[in-house]
Each structure stands twice: as structure tokens, then as C-alpha cells.
């Protein structure tokens, strides 16, 4: 109970911070999308020389789109979470103040006229706490998803490296350049996602 209170007191700040951090991820995801377009153009130009690279560029486009969508989802969810945790904090405060009044008025002739409202405050708090847990779960799920996307990106960069190595000399450098940029973007996204996770778990 105590650690829960402490959590929610910082939580609305952390959740808002997460939303801010994610704007960086969005930029990176847009970089992936841009590189995917470059790769597509290259593949089209090179034709059969880099045929095996085609599915990889398709995957990059998909990855970029998914990531952008996920980041927007996470961002929205993080803001909802920030608002929910603040509401939870308020409802918990109200609940405690009504409870204290009830205790103090235990001998008052009309003390029992507080009971309904105190029960309502307790109920509201309970519901807010449940909402908070639900939104928290949802946000962690989304972070899981983005992290697993980035793991997939790692697999793809490894394959693309091999493919780039076997491509015709004139395309090798460009393809490697694309792979490196993809890898960098994926790693930064992974890093930020796990940072967000840590700040939410605090």
C-alpha cells in the first residue's frame, strides 16, 4: 500500500517524461522510413544485381510504419497514464481525508451522515487505482512490442550485411550504408524504450 502511494506520487511525472522521450524515437522511426525509401530506390535502380535485397527493404518500410504507429500509441498511452495517476493521487487524497473525518467524528451525533460520501470516495479511489494498473499494463505491453520489433530489426541488419557483401561492388557501399543507419536507429530506439521502462518501474 505504501509503496503504491509513493509510486503514484512520482508516476504522473515519470509518465509525462516518457511521453517527452518518445519524441526522439519518433524521429528515429522517421529516419528508418527515409532509409527504407532510399533502399527501395536503390533496389529499383540496381534491378537483378541486388534482387535479394528487395524483401529487406519491404521489411524496413513495414518496420518504420509499425514503429511510428507504436510510438504514437505509446505517447498517447503515456499521457493517459500521467493523467490517470494524477487522478488516482487526488482520489487517494480525498479518500484519506474523508476517512480521517469519519474517525474524528465517530462520536458525533450526525457522524454517520459522512458514511455515504466516505464510501463513495473509497470506491472512486479503488476504481482509479484499478484504472491506473490497467493503463500501466497497457503501456508496458506497448513497450514490449516496440522492443521486440527492434530485436527483429537486429536480425534483419545481420542478414542484410551478408546480402550487401554478396552484392555487386558498385552497390556494396550504398547498401552497407543503409544497413548501418538502420542498425543505429534500431539501437537508439531500443535504448530509449528500455530507459522508459526503467523510469516507469521506478
Amino acid at each position: 500500500m505504501h509503496s503504491n502511494r509513493k509510486n503514484s506520487a512520482h508516476f504522473f511525472i515519470n509518465a509525462a517524461t516518457v511521453a517527452a522521450e518518445l519524441s526522439v524515437v519518433l524521429t528515429e522511426a522517421k529516419n528508418i522510413s527515409l532509409e527504407a525509401m532510399n533502399a527501395k530506390a536503390l533496389v529499383a535502380r540496381a534491378g537483378d544485381n541486388v534482387r535479394t535485397f528487395k524483401p529487406i527493404t519491404d521489411f524496413m518500410v513495414e518496420l518504420a510504419n509499425d514503429t511510428i504507429w507504436l510510438v504514437k500509441e505509446i505517447n498517447r498511452e503515456a499521457l493517459v497514464l500521467s493523467r490517470t495517476s494524477l487522478a488516482e493521487l487526488h482520489s487517494s487524497d480525498a479518500h484519506n481525508r474523508f476517512k480521517r473525518a469519519q474517525q474524528k467524528a465517530s462520536l458525533a451525533p450526525y457522524g454517520d451522515t459522512i458514511d455515504t460520501i466516505a464510501a463513495e470516495a473509497s470506491n472512486t479511489h479503488h476504481q482509479q487505482a484499478m484504472q491506473l494498473r490497467r493503463h500501466m499494463r497497457k503501456l508496458f505491453e506497448l513497450l514490449d512490442e516496440i522492443e521486440s520489433r527492434m530485436l527483429a530489426a537486429n536480425v534483419v541488419t545481420a542478414t542484410s550485411r551478408l546480402e550487401a557483401a554478396t552484392a555487386a561492388d558498385s552497390y556494396q557501399a550504398s547498401l552497407e550504408g543503409i544497413v548501418i543507419k538502420l542498425e543505429k536507429a534500431a539501437n537508439r530506439i531500443k535504448h530509449i524504450a528500455s530507459k522508459c521502462r526503467r523510469s516507469l518501474e521506478r
Binding site: 480525498a94 481525508r97 474523508f98 480521517r100 473525518a101 469519519q102 474517525q103 474524528k104 467524528a105 458525533a108 451525533p109 450526525y110 457522524g111 451522515t113 459522512i114 460520501i117 463513495e120 470516495a121
Partner: protein, 247 residues
Amino acid sequence: MMKVVKLHESRSHEWLVFGRDEERPSKIIDTNQYMIKTTNHAIMLDPGGIELFSAMLAAVVHHVPINQITHLFASHQDPDIISSLGLWDKTLPHAELYAPWLWEGFLRHFGCNSIRYNPLPDEGKSIRLDEVELQFIPAHYMHSSGNFSVYDPQAKILMSGDIGAALLPDNAPLFVEDFDAHVDKMRLFHQRWMPSNRAKKDWVRRVRQLEIEYLAPQHGAIFKGRDVQRFLDWLDELEVGTGVSAR
């Protein structure tokens, strides 16, 4: 526990003062809250800050059931007056709040979703609770720019909000006992919190026309009988607005 004193009792109504809460956190200013209880209604005048809410609610139900409290009044917008509004809003969703029109958009920041806000016009207004008439007397710039006192002509009580306030040690008596000694406890408050000599003169002029047995401020001690006139004379002479040095 919060202390409660009955200021007036008649067939039609009662005046109660709540204050001197022993459990009040030491860094918040001590306040007096008032409640007028009529046959079927009750109004709380300057119900207090959020830190006091639990103690106030507990004290109030010693005297009335919650659903009898149908009205609230806030003399002005200060946190010590009404930052508890958000919680009263949950407690008394059907109540009405009388407060200066000037502060409506501001007071709503405390949370006023269910309670109805009745904006008081600058010139003041009278209301009736059962057989009791209450007059909201303009007290603008004393100290707040939108501000009212409450006058009960039957009980001859003027609830004066921050006017007449004194900064007293904990557990000081609830009534002024030695006026001359009391002056030292309220001089700074009036000089520094009250901004306008013109507004002060205007309020004193209005209030001199009323018959007052008790002048009841939101901080400090209540003036009784002859001390009411002494206070008005003292305030009339006092130079206020001293935060701006005369260079």
C-alpha cells in the same frame, strides 16, 4: 479537536464558530470558520483550507447532518478561505456557493463541478435561509479586490473575513479581552495586507451604519460590544498599504 463556540442562539437560528484546531499543521495560518444553522438549512462561511477539511467536516457533523448544509460562502479567493472547495464539492454536490463574481474563474480551479456558483455582484446582495436574512456587504480591496462581509441583522453579527484579523499564538482566547493589547496583534496584518485607504474608509462608512454586537474575523479573535466601535475607530485612522514605501 477543533473548538466550537456558539455565538448566537435564537428560535430561528444559531451561529457557530469553529477554530483553534490543535492538530493544525504548524506552518499554516490559524483560521475561524463560521456556520449559521437555520431550521432546515445551514451555510458555512469561509469553510477553510484543504488541510483543515477533515477536522472541519468532523466538527460540523456534531451540529448538523451533512445534507442540511445547503449553502457555502467564500468572502474571497484565498486558499485559507476556500481551498477545501474541491472536497466540499464531493461532500455537498447539491449545495450552492455564494462568492464574488470576480473570482469565479479562479475559484473553479479548486474544483467546483457539482456545487452551483452564485456570483455575488459588486454592490452586494441579500439572501434568506428559512426566516433568516443574510446580507453580503461589499468589502472590496479589504484585502481582496473582490470581497464581501456577511451581516445578520437579527443576530447583529458581522462576519468580516480578513478585516479585523489578528495573528495570535495558538490557543489564544476566541474573544478580544484587552483591546489595547490586541491592537499590536493586528496592526501589521492590516497595514500590509490591506492595500487601499479609500477602500478602507468606504468599508468603515458602510459598516458604521449597521448595528453590530459581534464583529467576527476569519483570523484571530472576535470583537464584542464596545470593542466593535473601538475597532472601527482604530481602522478608520490606520494608514494601510504600507508594502509600498513612501519615497
